[in-house]
Symmetry: none
Subunit: 157 residues, 2 copies
DNA sequence: CCCTCCCTGACCATATCTGACCTTTGCTTT
DNA sequence: AAAGCAAAGGTCAGATATGGTCAGGGAGGG
């Protein structure tokens, strides 16, 4: 558990408490609370509270400045997931794939565990080949996500 | 008894102690404990803790990095299917893929519906590309089957 | 002798954390 | 107003801490 993780959890907890809407924080106070430099807060925000993960950040400097963190509302999760699948191009890098997985997870399409399995399969299958990794990864990701969504649906019934 | 074996046993012991769920390790510490180079740990993980054997590995680099080993097994079904998955070569034709699907179905690894989904995904994903159809098909089939097995297992619990 | 498995070390990739320096905003003083 | 000052927050390069990869050497059983 790094400081970044602790800060992340704290912020999410605060968000949850506020009804998953939005909260306003003071960067300096947060840094004080966790005994770190203020820029550490920016680091956490930049790496954990991105738009892809469903968060909106806005801030103001100067006296009375603040950092506002809002949860992005999603209309229909499956629709968005389908949109995401469509957005996976012919090729995709490892980190991009990770982004997509995080997205699906945030949308509630993939559980932690399902995500792990998909990730493991992706790594496993792309590890062997020399060329065309990105292409294979894209195809696999699409397929695995689609299948997982189906699994989820089947299990619900 | 090689060092690799010792490390393997140690990890399995730790897993057992944790109730066969999951454990987090530090690669550096483990290497230190067994007086070997860190990459030796990777070797053990890559050869002994594979998906086929029922283990899931995930890791993170950088500060606060870790290696997480999770058990996903219930060996019987895996053993059967593992054999099949292993037999899928680097490339596979459409009709061969169909054969494998039938086999998985006969083993009770895939339900009718899961088979249909896998088939659909295979067709869908290989339809787009011009070259390397057989290779992609093999990778996808392996991945989809593994994923489906995992899904099945997860739901049983 | 050859093959497979084990082991090592050099080099690479990535996450976290810090501090120096910069920008914006509001209030106060001329 | 304009200038000056204080109080936020922002950026970025670099240090530190992990883990990953790969080619090659070595050991032991056919």
């Amino acid at each position: 558990m790094t400081i970044a993780d602790l800060i992340e959890n704290y912020i999410k907890q605060q968000l949850h408490r506020s009804g998953n809407q939005a909260i306003a924080l003071s960067r300096a106070e947060l840094a004080e609370l966790f005994s770190c430099v203020p820029s550490q807060i920016n680091y956490v925000l930049a790496t954990r509270f991105t738009l892809e993960r469903g968060y909106l950040i806005e801030s103001r400097r100067g006296g009375g400045g603040y950092i506002r963190i809002a949860r992005v509302t999603k209309a229909d999760r499956l629709d968005m997931a389908e949109q995401l699948v469509l957005e996976i191009g012919p090729q995709i890098s490892e980190s991009e794939a990770e982004q997509f997985l995080a997205n699906f997870h945030d949308l509630g399409v993939l559980t932690e565990q399902q995500m792990r399995v998909v990730r493991a399969v992706l790594q496993r299958e792309t590890a062997q080949i020399a060329q065309g990794k990105a292409t294979l990864r894209a195809s696999l990701l699409r397929g695995l996500v689609i299948l997982t969504m189906q699994c989820g649906r089947m299990n619900e019934v």
